[in-house]
Amino acid sequence: MTTLVIAEHDNAELKGATLNAVAAAAKLGGDVHVLVAGSNAKAVADQAAKAAGVAKVLLADAPHLADGLAENVAEQVLGLAQGYSHILFPATASGKNIAPRVAAKLDVAQVSDIVAVDGPDTFQRPIYAGNAIATVQSSDAVKVITVRTTGFDAVAAEGGSAPVETVAAVADSGLSAFVGREVAKNDRPELTAARVVVSGGRGLGSAENFKILDPLADKLGAAVGASRAAVDAGYAPNDWQVGQTGKIVAPQLYVAVGISGAIQHLAGMKDSKVIVAINKDAEAPIFGVADYGLVADLFQAVPELAAAL
């Protein structure tokens, strides 16, 4: 039994989500291999080789693998699939994009967003925005799985010394082409990897008012998130969205500001270690999950909190 983990990276750096997926793979038992499909991505393969518990790293390097196009990466995975009992992707935008293509071509079900491994064929996954946890068993020969990163503590990034083996890259499918990327310019940590997250909701009232969170986030070294309501209202960009249909976060500290706490939002943050809620409505459902609730006008409380830290 050997598991293949598909690495998430930007051709220069291995993304942390990969280490969570390796942790899930380790729970399955058996060897763990990591595939790095990219362009000029040797540095990424070398980083993956150092991750704890990795037995071998496969590097497929070609210009048409540079941008993670689903058609090409899925073919690359399919070419290597034989011999693996499990194929794991981090449940990131990239993993979610590619994994189902691999599963469909193998004619197997995909198990999405697992949060626990009960056995080599049995997994727990949230459904209905995390309002229920389904325990599912797969009878397929190969299990294609996406791993919710917050469900598994990352393995150590250093300490391993796995060999890196170069594998032949598949041909370019020619079906799709990468045109461009607009990366949000941001000095803050990445939302899903941040130790502290400060999120704003509709209570902020405008995109302008969202800036009130900046001094607090600066003080805490936090990433800034938003509820879907705030995103829908245009107060914050969509990639800030925390919730069922946005990002799933589990930081050490989550500060919810002006967020009422719709179930779809709670689905994205209720595994945070400590939750602070600041809201003027004492009946807001967010207080039902908050460790520390402050019923106050956020426009006074947030600057005061930033100043007091």
Partner: protein, 249 residues
């Protein structure tokens, strides 16, 4: 060009589901059912393509129980021209739905399939990608902008940390994210008109598709509960608690 829009009937966005006491699933008896919100965005996008002259016909399809007809009527009230229901009472998992949709694509020969990125019941986020793979078509998931020109779709996608733009050769599969558009409210005249639009029904057997589930649900349980903490009277107390009790700052 023809656009196919798969839609799913799900528990309404505002319903908080309850786990059944025997842990066999969630209780969906007598709860409000609606079109999956992401699929509604897909129907809206296809309708706008048609209104702009980019699509000649919009066909809504759904797989599931008889009541999915209501979901299809809603799609036609938004703007779909006709509908196809693949009717079955069997449990349908994403791979089975993708196979049913592939059979319909083979029949209908659309140049574009637009559907929601995920359904808000099983939260699987698989069907569009699986359909694209089975068809050997390119895909653009999590779309926030879609433009068609010269046999190509240019799609802006919501990805971690920002946006990326892809160019796909048609035919292609596109899955919708929240900000692609804001679906219109359906009007009463359009609801009435939708009742007269054609709705064809097939079964999985008609399409020659084996829909047997591959994943067995052993149990469905409540998530670990998180208990409410305390309310603090002021910012100073909050800072004190965070520093000395929770030790997170």
């Amino acid at each position: 060009m023809k656009v196919l829009v798969p839609v799913k009937r799900v528990v309404d966005y505002n319903v908080k589901v309850r786990v059944k006491s025997d842990q066999s699933g969630v209780d969906i008896a007598n709860v409000k059912m609606s079109m999956n919100p992401f699929d509604e965005i897909a129907v809206e996008e296809a309708t706008r393509l048609k209104e702009k002259g980019g699509a000649a016909e919009v066909v809504a399809v759904s797989c599931g129980v008889t009541q999915c007809q209501e979901t299809l009527r809603t799609a036609m009230a938004i703007g779909a021209d006709r509908a196809v229901l693949v009717q079955t009472d069997a449990e349908l998992q994403p791979l089975a739905v993708a196979k049913l949709l592939k059979a319909l694509v083979d029949k209908e020969q659309p140049e574009l399939v637009i559907l929601g990125k995920q359904a808000i019941d099983d939260d699987a986020n698989q069907t569009g990608q699986m359909l694209a793979a089975l068809l050997g078509w390119p895909q653009a998931t999590f779309a926030s902008k879609l433009e068609l020109a010269d046999g190509k779709a240019t799609v802006t996608r919501e990805v971690d940390g920002g946006l990326e733009t892809l160019s796909l050769k048609l035919p292609a599969v596109v899955t919708t994210d929240l900000r692609l558009n804001e679906p219109r409210y359906v009007t009463l005249p359009n609801i009435m008109k939708a009742k007269k639009k054609p709705l064809d029904t097939f079964t999985p057997e008609d399409l020659g598709v084996d829909v047997a589930p591959r994943l067995k649900t052993l149990k469905v349980s409540d998530p670990p509960a998180r208990s409410a903490g305390i309310k603090v009277p002021d910012v100073a107390t909050l800072v004190d608690k965070l520093k000395n009790e929770a030790k997170v700052v």
